[in-house]
Each structure stands twice: as C-alpha cells, then as structure tokens.
Symmetry: C2
Subunit: 531 residues, 2 copies
C-alpha cells in the first residue's frame, strides 16, 4: 500500500548483466516501492497480488535521457483506474517541482475547489463559485432538457469547464500570493496540478463529462455510466498539467451520485462498528444507513409528496439572511440573527426550521402547522384570506410557505422512517451516529429539527454536521490513495433502494405532517417541551 | 477465450428492477461473451479469473441513445493492453459496417501492410513500400544518429507515418476497386480500420513511436521500452478510425525486436514438442532455438567478425537480378536464372550462395574459398592482382567479394554452432525443424547453403522457409486474440543471449571459414559430393 500518489523511486542502473529496458526498470522500481498487496474480502485469504503499472507509451518518448540526467532517480505521479495503477508523469527527483491536486465539489448550485499539495498533503487554498449552468437552467431537470437541444450538452459542459479553468488559475494565484511568490508564475503552478478528483451528483457528472444525460430522468432512470474511468484533463479541456488526469466519483444510480459516495468516504460510514445514518439534503433527500457490514441507500425522484420539497425551504444563505431565530414563549418576543448581522432580507432553511420550532413550542403554531392567531397576536395578519406571520423588519412568512415547510419536514421524517424501520428493520435508537451532510445541513439546528418532527428524537450528541462532505471526500482521495479501494468497497456494498411513493409511504407521510407527529410517543423530548 | 476482436453483444434491457448503467450493462454482456479465463502456468491451477474491461469514458458520450436505437444490441471492437481488455469502439450491430485491421511489417528497408477483415478474418490485400527513412540514412545506426539531431526523431517518425497513411489509403482503394465499390468511399474504409499491429525491430519500433533510440546502440544497449502499451492511432497521426488503436510487438532487447517475436508467434516455436531453430537473416543474424519448454535467443552487435556480414551478401532482389545458378561440374557451363527472366544486372544473396556452392562443388573454389584459376578456365581473370570470376553477361564476382561471402557464411555457421552446441547443449541433429525467416531466407537454397558450410548439414526436409514471418505474425494477432497471451508467454520464456565475440567464438569462426568446414565430419553430405 502506498501513502502518496507521488513516489520517489530509484531505478537499478543499466549494465550489461541487467539490460532491461528503461520503462520496465522504472516499473520494477515502482513495484518495489509499493510491494505486493493483500486483497480484502472477496478474495482468497492471504492472497498476495503483485501490482501492475500502466505506463502510457507517449510518456516514454524522452525517458532514456531524463533518467540518465537524473542519475536513475525520479519522482513518479501515480493514479488508478479500474484496471490498476497508471503512471501519470515522471518528474525530476528534486523537491522544488511540487505536485498538486485539486479536489472538486461539483454542486448543482455551487462548485468548490481545494488545492492540495500531493507530497506534503497540505491544503493550499480553496475557492468557490456558482455553477454557471444555472444561467441556462436553474435545476437539474431543466439542464438535462437543455442538454438535448442542439449543442446544448457541449454548451453546459463548456460553461463549467471554462469557469473551472478560470478558478483553478485564481486558486493558483491566491496560493502564490499568500506564499509571496511572484504572480507571473501562476501558470507554472497550474502546470504542477496533476490530479483532479471530482464529486458531483449523477447529472452533474454526466454533464461535466459531456455524456448524454437524457435517460437519467426517464423511467427506468438509467445512467450512461456508473463508474467512469479517469480521463486525460486535456481531453476535457481542463488547463492543468498536459498529462494531468481527472477522476470522477462513481454513481450508484441516477439519483445517487458520486457526491454521496464521496460523503460516505469522508464520514467513513463503511467502517463503523454499528449502524449510523447519513442524510444529505440537497436537490433530493438522500439517505444512507449502515455500517461495515452493509449499506442501504435511499434516494429518488420521490413523487408529488416531495416535489419542490426539502431543498426549497428558504433562501440561500448570504449576508442579511435570517439563519437563527428565538421566540420567548412568555413574552412572544422574536429574536432573529442574520448572517453578518446585516438588516434582514429573508430566511434561509435553518432559519425556517428554527422559526417553525419556536412557533410551535410557544403555541403560535398548532399541531397541524397552522398559525394560532390569538397566540401570534399583532404579528399575525391576513391578506386575501391567507394568514401570515411577521418575523422581523418586512420579512413575513405566509401560511402557504408554512404548509410547504410542513410537507418538507414530513417528507424528510417519512423517508427516514421508511429506510430505518421498514427497510433496515432498525429503530431510530439503534443509530450510533446521525450525520448531516450538505451545505443545508451545516446550518441546521438539530434541536429545532427534532421539535418540528423533521429529524428523529434521538440524543442531540448523536448528531454530527459534516459540512461539505462531497468536497472533503474528494480531498480525502487525493491525500490517501487507499481510498480508491474504499470507494470500490462502498460502491459494491451499497444496496440502492428507489423510494417508492406507495400507499404505505403516503400513510406514514400523513402521520408525519403533524407537529411533531401524530404518534407523539415518537417524540418524548418534544412532548415535554410543548404545553 | 474469444475468437475475434469484434464481438456481437446483446445487453440486458434496462428496467426498474435492473437499472444498472448502460456502460456497466455493456461490460456485463461482454463478460458473458468472453466468460472466465483459465490462466496457464505461473498461476495456481484451476484458478479462473473474471475478465475485466476498460471502457474509455469519452466513448460513453453517445452510448445511451445509440444502444436504444440499436435495440440494446451492439458490435464491440476489443483490444488488449498489459492491464487487460479494452473497448476500442461500439458500433451498430449490423453486418454492413465492416471492421478492418492492418498488419504491418515495419522493416528497416521495406514496409509491408496487409488489410484484414476482423470479422471474416479474410485477407483483403497487401501493399509494400520502401522505408522512406532510408532517404535520410540507409542503415539503423545512421538513423539512430540522425534521431539525435534537432527534430531528427520527429522527422524520421513523420516520414514513416506519412508514407504509411498514403499506403493505407492505397490499400483501401485497391480493396474497393477489386470489390467493384465506388472509389470515392476509400476514406470510409480507412475509417473502418480499427486496429494496427506493427512488428519491427527495436530501433524501428522506437523511431515509429517517436521514442529516443539513443541508448539502443550505446553500451549496455538499453531500449527505452520493451513492452510499449498500445496507443491511439490519433496520437501517432495515423489516419484510420479516430478511435483506432496501434499495437507494437514487444522487444526483448536492443538487438532482438518485435519482428522476431512476431516471427516466433507465426512459426509457433513456443509450442513445438522438440527443439527447433528459427534463423532470421536481416541487418543482424538473429537466431532462436527452443520449443515449448524454453526458448533461447541469440543476437547482437557482433563484433568485427560479422561486420557488414550476412545481410550484405549480394543486391536486393529485383527484375534482372540473378537468384539461382547452376554450374555443370563436367563442362563448366554456368546456367543463371534471373528474376522475371530479364538480362542479368547483378546477383542477390541466394544467387551468391548458389554460385559459391556450385563453384566449390565443381572444384573452381578451393577449401579456403579461393578461386582455382586452372578450373575456372576462361571465366577467370585478374585485375590489379585481384582474381575475378565472370558469371554471366558483364556480371563479375571478385575474390574480395568471395572473401566477404566466406566471412558471412562462417559467421552464420559459428553463431548457429555457438547457440546450438555451446549454449543449448544440443547437436544440430537434435533439431526437428530449421525455419528460415526474413525475405533473404525466402530465396535461399538450403542445399547450396549446406554445401558451402553456411547452414548445418541436416536433412533438407527439415528446412522450412517462413517468408515474411514478421508480417505473418502481425496478421496472426489480428485474426487470433489469444495470440496476445502467446506473445506474453514467448516474451517471458525467452532467454536472451548477447553474442560475445570472444576467443572461443573466434576459434569456431576460423574453422568455419573453410569450405565447407575444417571439420569435414560436420558435413557428411557435402563430403560425398565434393571430389
């Protein structure tokens, strides 16, 4: 096993008794570095396999002279594909030609890049930008439709790649600036980037690779490819080292993408001793439950019950957006916190959940999720027969928006209940950890989410926020080559369940539309709070 | 095991219960076609390995729509690299889009192409042309030196590739013409060529790939690469299908190239039940002896003894060149045969050997290889003290040329003696077959070669002329994918011996300079012939 994609090797010197060719001596030196590997489960025990290396023929062109100039030493950049190790580049054995990688979270809304030194494994900066495809089509569905128009796919692909190139350049400039290196060399650093690991959902992955995504959204929801082989950065037009390679995290299905595999890798769900759950609330609600023995993933184009559902709660977090709310149950005073303490301009998802929880606990919201006018007092008003609640400044929440939140929280809980109880045959209490992934999850207050019956009523300390787990997983692969095998292990051990919106689901969903739930015994901690 | 690089597959249709991605279903269908393989020696017995397939990501771009248009059937072009199978292209399942391959003998002097239909396995034409690198430098050594000048390597590579493109086009045109298909479509046929298998010596292989060949000719004689991975035709600028691949036969060492591996493959030396020998007389004399248990190869930049040696005998075969000679030992009448029965313009190698044999048998040449003036009669004359023999018309053979032939034949026999007796520990009589490869070998009369002591005195019926074994081996690979594993088996079972021109060799060489040999007991059949 190797700890690093960058290997220092020392070749046996050629002599009359050892006239093996240069490339083959280089491979032998690599094999010596890496040694034999012991395969895990699925293989006969104790079987040891000699690693093989793919050495692209074009890379051999100037190898003879270089190796002799370098006194038969070299720094080799490695990567892996489904067949095994691949030599990406052969560099001078010095330390002053750094080798970088970039981890990419290829989000539908936002794309984040992190520069990583592949030798020191240090993070060297991060940069984020809005996915430029949104200019053409805001959501995944619309982008897939656009991809079917003439040159639409190419256009969507080029938008992302062009912006990515620009921001890779920016990332390099920032790195150079913060390290007091002359700015003009930033292209040189881009040239030092040899690997890109990209985690995105299935649709984003297809669009990024320029692969027809049409059938992702048509029954029976078939991706073109689940495990794309790494490809040359050049082939994609990505401006890093000309021999650089790009890896895309594999999908499980149309609605279970590489971003989640990356998240599982980061959370190390596949190595836990007892069942845990990971919930990623993005465009869809994706849930993975399991541990080292099995993993069940549940996601899907869930029907009307979830439409416009969980992800649509509130606005995107930015300065002035209300992200935390407190209501004094006695005085009814509403205390809001806005991002950067700017005057309020709207409410984001976590603010919405806080608000609903506080309204419910202070009796301003009934168990059906309807405003109680006499408790809301002067904060309540009606317009065209629709009740509304004045939050702060001019920010108002209507009953329609509250109903939507109610649907969303019910959908979330129903999905969790189906996967934990019906599918995995567990109780919520059996869960050792509850990981919340995705940017939305980062801001959520689990206590509020429990209060409204969105998340199950388990001890607060079991909740753990993962942050941008998609990016973290992509970064983990760059600093830990073993992760290749982990990804394959995760992929193979996942049972993927399409969420069926059937009668049983609808019954569960109906019960979950109450605050916190029709079956109040499911929420003992909330029961004790409410009046 | 598969019989064909073109596989017809039928994919499982996607449905809700089977929502595997398209590419993965395609791979599964291929695996079903090919099944598991049983590994040969070197692997634990009875171990069965599931074949894996590398599917280039760029190939996935339009797969979803195509597969549905083709009703989930397809024709897949496969190839192999050191890691395993590789999908080259996915085509419509119809029969009217033929898939071709081209086998290439990449000779130092001449290049020959053969068009092969990869589905019917039929040969569809052949074309040959002089290696255009000869314009720049006649021999391998000079070309390697030229490759070290600025842009010299690129120039040499481009010369061959440009001429190859032109002749591939020609080959396609000829095929269309002979099949009465409209000429304008010849580009379409070139587009149907998906595979190129190329067998050349180590230097030609390096130059073809644009790989620095400098160290092939410098002690300790190290190739840059022995087993080049197949590469994209596009990368080399070869104008066949844009997804086409080019395979180069592997080298064993600087002086033992892919042309010989190809020859061994064609002769099936590695499968023989008892020891056989294969001799390729080209720029160097290359000899392989062995059978299914072992193979010993002997080649080399043999020192002064062989310089300008065997290959320099006579001129290249062309119309008017004397290729067969008979001398009536009683009347002394010289009966010459010229190619195409044209007036004589010179003598080729086989003619030289015939001449020497006939001269010796009729007593016109003594055992030291010197003309016997009183036997040569009026055909003998001297100029500036050097004797000469008038062959036919104005064609004359001088004692200097005869001495050179003597050296060559002695070198050949010495090499054979060293490898058979000293290295393999066999007697010539132990050989079941004596294969003569290379164009030079094609015309040789073994009886004459035995008479002058160039080839060992074994029964004539053991000699077998292989013709252009390099081309035949390259063609064999195209029509028999199993040959991949055979090539690897050949490569691994060869012990490569550099011919050392030491005192012992020089002693053997001195003895072999006599006609037929100082040790006349080695040539009982010749003994009985000579007076």
């Amino acid at each position: 096993m190797i700890k690093n994609f960058v290997q220092y090797i020392e070749l046996e010197e050629p002599r009359l008794g050892n006239n093996t060719a240069d490339v083959e001596r280089l491979k032998a030196a690599l094999a010596k570095n890496i040694g034999t590997i012991e395969k895990g489960r699925g293989y006969p025990e104790n079987e040891r396999i000699q690693e093989k290396f793919y050495f692209p023929t074009t890379l051999a062109a100037d190898i003879p002279l270089k190796l002799r100039q370098w006194n038969h030493k070299a720094k080799v950049v490695l990567f892996k594909d489904s067949m095994g190790w691949r030599v990406v580049d052969v560099l001078a054995p010095e330390r002053d030609n750094p080798v970088f990688g970039v981890a990419v979270d290829l989000g539908t809304t936002r794309i984040v890049l992190r520069l990583i030194n592949l030798e020191t494994l240090a993070s060297c900066g991060e940069i984020g930008f809005d996915n430029p495809q949104a200019k053409i089509a805001p959501d995944v569905l619309a982008r897939i439709h656009h991809a079917r128009t003439e040159d639409g796919l190419k256009e969507l692909q080029q938008l992302v790649i062009s912006d990515m190139n620009q921001h890779i350049h920016e990332l390099c400039k920032n790195y150079l600036f913060s390290n007091h290196i002359d700015d003009s060399e930033s292209l040189l650093i881009a040239h030092s980037i040899h690997l890109l690991t990209v985690a995105g959902n299935s649709a984003m992955t297809h669009l990024f690779l320029g692969i027809d995504p049409s059938f992702l959204i048509r029954e029976p929801y078939i991706p073109a490819v689940n495990v794309p082989e790494p490809l040359d950065a050049r082939e994609l037009g990505i401006e890093i080292n000309q021999r650089g390679m790009v890896y895309l995290f594999p999908n499980i299905g149309s609605y279970f993408g590489g971003d989640l595999i990356s998240g599982i890798l980061f959370a190390q769900l596949h190595k836990k001793d007892s069942p845990c759950i990971m919930v990623d609330v993005g465009t869809n609600a994706e849930v993975i439950v399991g541990y080292r023995d099995w993993l069940i993933a549940c996601a899907g184009a869930a029907g009307p019950a979830l439409e416009g559902g969980i992800s649509n709660m509130g606005m995107t977090a930015k300065p002035g957006v209300i992200d935390r709310i407190k209501i004094d149950p006695v005085t009814g005073v509403v205390d809001v916190h806005t991002i950067d303490d700017k005057p309020p301009i709207g409410i984001c998802g976590s603010g919405m959940i806080d608000l609903a929880a506080e309204l419910f606990i202070s009796g301003m919201l009934d168990i059906r999720g309807k405003f109680v006018p006499e408790r809301c007092k002067d904060r309540y008003f009606e317009k065209d027969g629709v009740g509304s609640f004045r939050v702060a400044g001019g920010i108002v929440l209507s009953q329609v928006e509250m109903n939507s939140l109610t649907s969303s929280k019910a959908a979330m809980y129903s999905i969790l209940q189906v996967i934990i109880e019906k599918t995995a045959g567990l109780q919520f209490d059996d869960l050792a950890k509850f990981y919340v992934a995705g940017t939305f999850g980062s801001f959520i207050n689990p206590k509020s989410a429990i209060s409204i019956g969105m998340l199950p009523d388990i001890p607060i300390d079991k909740f753990e926020v993962l942050g941008n787990s998609s990016l973290e997983g992509a970064a983990k692969l760059l600093i830990n080559p073993d992760a290749f095998d982990e990804i394959e292990q995760i992929r193979q051990s996942i049972t993927y369940i399409e969420l069926n919106v059937n009668q049983e689901f609808m019954n569960i969903f109906s019960g979950a539309k109450f605050y916190p739930h029709t079956d109040i015994s499911r929420f003992p901690s909330v029961k004790s709070l409410s009046l």
